[in-house]
């Protein structure tokens, strides 16, 4: 059994979903950072405008610094959010007005606005500061205007945007996962199609797969076809070999048997005769084996390229009965045929071989002076040829095992056989989409009951 690793489709989907998750997270992070930056900048701009507006009203009157906070400087801060406002104006470091503990960022160049984030009255605030030198009584004075604002409004907008971005990212991710699954399925479809085409085939169909395949799968398809060609070739070669070998063995065996028969007639001593009889029996066995092997090979070979002729099961049965009749009458066994016409499609040679093997068993395993009955029955879909003998039956072993190769029963003492007969019959029926049914008649008057079931044409 090949151990199964994770499916490509699942893996592809997970991989794509992983990438989508990463991108979603990344885009959410970026949007959040941008939103924070943007809201921060908006607040900075207003703070800068406010500080500048205040700084612009600075003037000196009679050597004294005069300052008039313009209404707009504060009302503009109130326009963007409901944030708390703090301010402070210093002259050379001394507070002129405002909140005298408000932190003041380190002043930059004159006229340049400096921003800072600080903690004031226990909350984070954003501050903008601008410094400006003016000439007062005894020389230049450096005035710094600082305007601060809490960041709740900016924070609220940023987190609202971040929340929106999160929702969008999740939606994006869900869509991406669905699309990933779809993409994985689509891209695996040709592979699945090839797999389906291969598994739809019969057990011995080794024809090359002729179908358009995407470039990526072409090597796989080519390799598969090459493998099947090689497999077919080697099967054919071994069958040829078996047929050839069987044939080559049978000819000399016939010679050996003839010579042994002659010798049996000429020798007089009982032990010698017995020895010769044992030789003849062994030769018979070998010869039967070789013959059945040859049949088996032929069957296997013909199955591969199965003919589908219209046939009548009754004809096949009566032909086989006619061929076997001499063998049966040698043992005083009557073959009784109850025919009914049943049209089927298939290979006549193979079906005959199947019937012959079943009938051969019935004759071989039955005692002398009995009757073997062949009956053809049919229903809507199937035809059935049942062979019933008056022999000992199929024994207590599980009957399915009897169709295994070289498997013989326990009731075979002194009866020549190779264990391939039922194998051949079962193979033939399977190739014709039929089956072989083995039962032992429950009442002792009859023996084995073997049915060949075939679909009707």
């Amino acid at each position: 059994m090949t151990s199964e690793t994770r499916s490509i489709g699942r893996r592809l989907t997970l991989l794509l979903a992983g990438v989508a998750a990463l991108l979603s997270l990344l885009s959410w992070g970026m949007v959040t950072a941008l939103a924070r930056e943007a809201t921060q900048r908006t607040q900075d701009n207003v703070l800068a405008a406010s500080a500048t507006t205040i700084a612009e009203t600075l003037r000196t009157e009679q050597g004294e610094v005069r300052l008039e906070l313009p209404y707009a400087a504060f009302s503009m801060l109130g326009a963007i959010s409901e944030d708390r406002v703090f301010y402070r104006v210093t002259a050379d470091g001394d507070t002129l007005t405002g909140y005298d503990d408000l932190p003041q960022p380190i002043a930059g160049r004159q006229g340049q606005i400096v921003f800072d984030t600080a903690n004031y009255v226990g909350v984070p605030i954003r501050i903008a500061s601008i410094s400006r030198g003016i000439l007062a009584g005894d020389g230049p004075v450096l005035i710094a205007v600082t305007v601060g604002q809490t960041r709740d409004g900016a924070g609220a907008i940023a987190s609202e945007l971040s929340r929106l971005a999160a929702i969008l990212s999740v939606a994006f991710f869900v869509v991406a996962v669905v699309l990933s699954a779809f993409v994985a399925q689509t891209s695996l479809r040709p592979l699945n199609e090839i797999a389906a085409a291969v598994s739809r085939r019969g057990p011995s169909d080794l024809r090359p797969l002729e179908r358009p395949a995407p470039a990526d799968l072409a090597p796989l398809l080519a390799a598969l076809n090459r493998l099947m060609a090689r497999l077919g070739e080697s099967i054919r070669r071994s069958e040829d070999f078996i047929a050839e070998a069987a044939h080559r063995i049978r000819t000399p065996l016939a010679t050996v048997r003839a010579q042994a028969e002659i010798a049996l007639r000429t020798v007089s001593g009982e032990p010698e005769k017995d020895r010769l009889r044992r030789i003849i029996r062994a030769v018979d066995e070998s010869s039967r084996s070789a013959g059945q092997l040859l049949d088996h090979a032929t069957v296997a070979f013909r199955i591969e390229d199965l003919a589908s002729d219209r046939l009548d099961l009754a004809d096949l049965a009566s032909q086989t009965v006619a061929a076997m009749d001499p063998t049966a009458s040698m043992r005083d066994i009557r073959l009784h045929l109850q025919t009914a016409s049943a049209q089927i499609t298939g290979d006549a040679v193979l079906l005959e071989a199947a019937i012959r093997n079943v009938l051969d068993n019935a004759i071989k395993y039955s005692p002398e002076d009995t009757t073997v009955t062949l009956t053809i029955t049919r229903n809507e879909a199937e035809a059935c040829l049942t062979v019933v003998d008056q022999g000992p039956g199929l024994g207590d072993e599980p009957v399915a095992a009897l169709t295994e190769r070289f498997r013989r029963g326990t009731n075979t003492d002194g009866i020549v056989g190779s264990g391939l007969g039922l194998t051949i019959a079962a193979d033939v029926l399977r190739a014709h989409s039929g089956r072989l049914e083995l039962t032992t008649a429950p009442n002792r008057s009859e023996g084995a009951c073997v049915s060949l079931v075939l679909p009707l044409a």
């Binding site: 906070l69 504060f74 009302s75 801060l77 708390r84 009255v121």
Partner: protein
């Protein structure tokens, strides 16, 4: 500190800083329970009493301790840490500064959520009335004159009849009154006629008042021919009781300041639960559509009831501009220049 306070039974002030509190009026509305809701307010007791009684109808257990002070007194007392549960004031700028500087507690309820944006700020301040600044005149002083509807016309009348109005014009002393200062600074911002009017009034040797009620009283009694920038709500209340029939309210058509009376919970408040309930009640009354029998107008009354829709003074950091000491000093100097001509 609290123990002796409780022992005294009446709790006006508990901190040393607040001991100097200059109380204008005080009344304790006893409740059936132990709990006391301490309100510091600029609203006259007579005006606010119906609200307290309505509150106690709902919560008879809570005693209400009502202290009337001037708006600037209230502002400095709360900054100094005086312990009150609720601060009601008409000086929006001072209230706003308290909230901005962290002397107010956040409060949020279903009722406050219904307030329009302009009537609350950061869930710290809640407005429950809109009250216009009006001119109140004694009609006998104006016999034979066209009643002025703009400041231009008012300036012309005052200028042309100095004999009639000399010493008979009253207005807020903006140095004393927080509300007067608020009205004056807002008018300075919005109307260019303001300073000219001040010049003209200054020449007439005006009388200065701390409070609207006193001014209205004097007009009703004929002491004054005209009071400029008084609270419309008080005037209307007085007009309803007036027997002489000489009092008249004028609303300037060119521009009218509309003040929001606001309430906040000081950071030092103890009984915040009752304070919240009181805010809810005031806000609900502020949102009422039917004027009803209440002494103070609702939020919608002034703006929708009048033909000229001036929005109320904006509750925002702009209010802090005139509170800046430098600005205030400059403004008061200019005001004194105009008003106290020799």
């Amino acid at each position: 500190m609290r123990v002796p306070c409780l022992a005294l039974g009446v709790i006006f002030w508990c901190t040393g800083a607040a001991l100097a509190l200059e109380i204008e009026d005080h009344h304790l509305f006893p409740g059936t329970g132990e709990r006391v809701l301490r309100i510091v307010s600029t609203t006259d007791l007579a005006v606010f009493e119906p609200y307290i009684l309505a509150f106690q109808d709902d919560r008879p257990a809570v005693a209400v301790d009502y202290t009337v002070v001037s708006s600037s007194e209230m502002h400095s007392a709360i900054r100094a840490g005086a312990q009150f549960d609720l601060a009601v004031s008409s000086a929006m700028d001072l209230q706003f500064q308290l909230a901005n500087d962290g002397y107010a507690q956040r409060y949020q309820s279903a009722a406050t959520e219904t307030l329009p944006d302009w009537a609350r700020w950061r869930d710290l301040i809640f407005a429950f009335t809109t009250e216009p600044a009006v001119v109140v005149i004694n009609s006998t002083s104006f016999t034979g004159l066209d009643l002025p509807v703009t400041r231009q016309e008012l300036i012309a009348i005052l200028r042309d009849n100095p004999d009639r109005f000399a010493g008979a014009v009253g207005t807020y002393d903006v140095r004393e009154s927080g509300l007067g200062f608020l009205f004056a600074t807002q008018e300075d911002r919005s109307s260019d006629a303001y300073w000219r009017l001040n010049e003209v009034m200054g020449r007439l040797k005006p009388k200065f008042y701390c409070c609207s009620s006193q001014m209205i009283e004097d007009v009703a009694e004929g002491e004054l021919a005209m009071a400029y920038n008084v609270l419309g709500s008080y005037a209307a209340e007085k007009l309803a009781q007036d027997q002489s029939g000489q009092m008249q309210i004028l609303r300037m058509q060119d521009f009218t300041n509309v003040m929001l009376r606001t309430v906040l919970v000081p950071a030092t408040a103890q009984n915040t639960e009752a304070a919240g309930a009181m805010i809810d009640m005031l806000v609900r009354l502020g949102m009422r559509d039917d004027p009803g029998d209440w002494p103070l107008p609702s939020l919608s009354q002034t703006s929708t009831g009048e033909a000229i829709g001036f929005g109320p003074i904006r509750l925002g950091p702009g209010l802090m501009v005139y509170l800046d000491p430098l600005n205030r000093r400059a403004f008061l100097a200019e005001w004194e220049n105009a008003m106290e001509q020799r």
